[in-house]
Symmetry: C3
Subunit: 361 residues, 3 copies
Amino acid sequence: MKSILDIVSLSTAEIDQLMQTAMDIIANPAKYSNACRGKKLATLFFEPSTRTRLSFEAAMLDLGGSVIGFSSANSSSAAKGESMADTAKVISCYADIMAIRHFKEGAPLVASLNSSVPVINGGDGGHCHPTQTLADLLTIYREHGRLDNLTVGICGDLKYGRTVHSLINALARYNNVKVVLISPVELAIPDYVKHEVLNKKGMQYVETTSIEEYMDQLDVLYMTRIQQERFPDPNEYLRLKDSYILTPQKIACAKSTMTILHPLPRVNEISVKVDDDPRACYFKQVFNGKVMRMALILKLLEHPYEKPSLFEEGSEYVVNEIKCTNPNCITSTEQELDHVFKVVNKQHGVCRCVYCEKQGK
Amino acid sequence: MKSILDIVSLSTAEIDQLMQTAMDIIANPAKYSNACRGKKLATLFFEPSTRTRLSFEAAMLDLGGSVIGFSSANSSSAAKGESMADTAKVISCYADIMAIRHFKEGAPLVASLNSSVPVINGGDGGHCHPTQTLADLLTIYREHGRLDNLTVGICGDLKYGRTVHSLINALARYNNVKVVLISPVELAIPDYVKHEVLNKKGMQYVETTSIEEYMDQLDVLYMTRIQQERFPDPNEYLRLKDSYILTPQKIACAKSTMTILHPLPRVNEISVKVDDDPRACYFKQVFNGKVMRMALILKLLEHPYEKPSLFEEGSEYVVNEIKCTNPNCITSTEQELDHVFKVVNKQHGVCRCVYCEKQGK
Amino acid sequence: MKSILDIVSLSTAEIDQLMQTAMDIIANPAKYSNACRGKKLATLFFEPSTRTRLSFEAAMLDLGGSVIGFSSANSSSAAKGESMADTAKVISCYADIMAIRHFKEGAPLVASLNSSVPVINGGDGGHCHPTQTLADLLTIYREHGRLDNLTVGICGDLKYGRTVHSLINALARYNNVKVVLISPVELAIPDYVKHEVLNKKGMQYVETTSIEEYMDQLDVLYMTRIQQERFPDPNEYLRLKDSYILTPQKIACAKSTMTILHPLPRVNEISVKVDDDPRACYFKQVFNGKVMRMALILKLLEHPYEKPSLFEEGSEYVVNEIKCTNPNCITSTEQELDHVFKVVNKQHGVCRCVYCEKQGK
């Protein structure tokens, strides 16, 4: 294993192995309390996120290691115009592994190409957040004893929510997982997720605007926050934010074994009154996230770091012929960075930026 | 012991025990250097405070434990609208104990009701700051060998200064402590402190606007800062801030055993020229604060955490009938939080908000 | 050794000893991994600097110690108006050693006069940055096996660049070091550096505006960033910033043993295309900086702290007769601080502020 940049690049065997390590950590925490003695994790949070940052830090401390880092871009060298590549090279002189959260999509990939220690993506803009998905999977696995044969409702912002797309991607590899997509029309799942994941992998799915319609059939209900920062129009946010609030009434007809998940922070998508229901698992999910990060750190420090290649064998690329126009892509700010697109469909001339995965034109 | 939210809820026996532990830590630091090995303290500082935060962190490190946390609200999830209750539940998955400083009064109480690990109040707005008071008491005890039979001058901002009110509350439980209240008329001690503490406990006290009048009688002189942020009118601040500056001249007639305290930071209330006087104890107070925090962490981690109840047996409460109108109370922002008032005087219909202690109407 | 405030106050023997310790740390890291067990470093960064702060923190962790601190002034007590002197006294109660970066020149000196633990200057405004210079020296020594008989090109902002002045000062103590000063006329080396260092020490030097002119003669090429924040006029910055960009073409004629250094962060002074050239040593320099900080921490913790004196024996001083007019000097903000000038040339009435070294009038 090299760096952890997205969930798709992990094999099912690797995910299963991480979950087995996590289960063993939960069963025998003392066995791991010195596993990373003398090792240092750097947490590079260009965008604030208490929960994710502290989860990584607690994980490293529970392994006996220590932590350096920063919690916002303005206390970093980025404020002086330093590139992501240089930051990664510098941090490689200080730490044994690094976790990066960045507002620019693809920033952790740029870091991993320049680092000499493993890089974990702790969330890059609206792009990927693989350790959240690993926390989700472990929680489902611990509560249900399996990751196949499940009906999973996913509710809220299915258009902008990166955790949703990652979760669907991850579940697609397990057998007989049905997905119920619950959202207002304006926030429905994007077409490319339907085409490139749901249809391609042959997952059963259904779309609905009603949170109640399929409630009694769900094994898992994954609630998400409607994030103000993703909306171009604040009025659209205000009109929609109170839709789909989960209350004790709405889960009255649900299975007693249903598990309610949420990537947190919640604003009011789940009423506080649901918290004491045994089906509420979103705080267990927080704990599981810490354990999965422990498993991941252990795994990544097992072998010397192998720098990844930007170019996969057998794929075709277009270099510096077209430019990525996504303003949130790392290519929009990183100096002297080649614009590289992977050809995903040669016949129709479709290619995607290797950093942010947006389609090139 | 459960959580440490205010000084009033500690029994005198508990305070005395904490001081004995502190004295033992000072005498035998090596004995404690591994006492919290493998434990984590979370420092949640929604409002910056270098001194208090670093004191907690140094305390935990000196016990062999480790620290995670944040130092301002904008690098926390609160910026994304997360409630105090949810933050407390999340941090409980990462740490064994937490210290909270918050600009909202009652925030640490809300945290302790939702946490599954002990909570220490590191200052909640103008409300309470119990670990400062514990530092004050240890300093007086170490310098005088006792906490009774003392004449204590308290000078400066007696109206807004939370450390002053806490100190008076704490001293009220010891025998024969006389208090000299020194302040401009505009910043005099509030009536409710007179009624509910000084008179109720039968403490001797005298009020004066002159710092010199009782100087030769004082065993302790507690200076406080006139805090600009507490003043609605900046001109009132400018006119008063230079009153009551302590100089070598003013303490010339004081006892040689008098001890000068200050909660720090000072701006100019005590001239730098006083620092080399052997009676100046405000930097010893800083050291004592760290030791008391060590004693407190040790004590709180001794037994599994018991969640406190909002409702004390034998007391009467009013729930959601009236609303707390204090804009600095946690009830003004925390979602789905009941407004609860404790009836303190049934005859006159007096009740106080359980979070901020402001009187309800 | 007391505190490390500038490079000039270190003797050549002390520098050599620090470098020998650093070489031993690199050869035997395990030998030092518990050297500071139980000790605490405080990193007080009133001005953000990821690289320098994390370098100090990684250094202390690699010695088995631990770290407390803050990374910007607004999360510190300075925001409440606390003086540098008081901050130093407070931190002395928490930590065994402190590293300070401050936007005010002379702030670390004020700290060291009030601290009871050693102080390391981590950069004070445009004044000094001794640990950067130690990193530079170690890198040259490791790459060339010597610090004498070298031709050193220094390129970029020679007027405002504090690292440049420190490096010249440091190199002046070694034999037969020739300096090639490369800069636009507007950013040429100040006259006082010529008079007080280059001429006084009899160093050979030459000035040029061309980066190519002496390229084939250089053993070391030290590139520096043109820092926007040092320019009163932003247009002057824009016009000059792209001059003197190092490219593979420009170093084609250089010696194969030439080493390229840069204090970092770079913006675009060195093309990314130079990074893979074996002569590029600026990331090795980052690693060497961490090791030199380890050596320095070890050295400073060897003996109990001796507070320095502001007044050197045999020198003459002027106290509170003239005022320092440098707005970036710590005297402009620190309360109750004497204005002290050292007479450097009695005949011509030249004296320099002991804090910022600016000439007094």
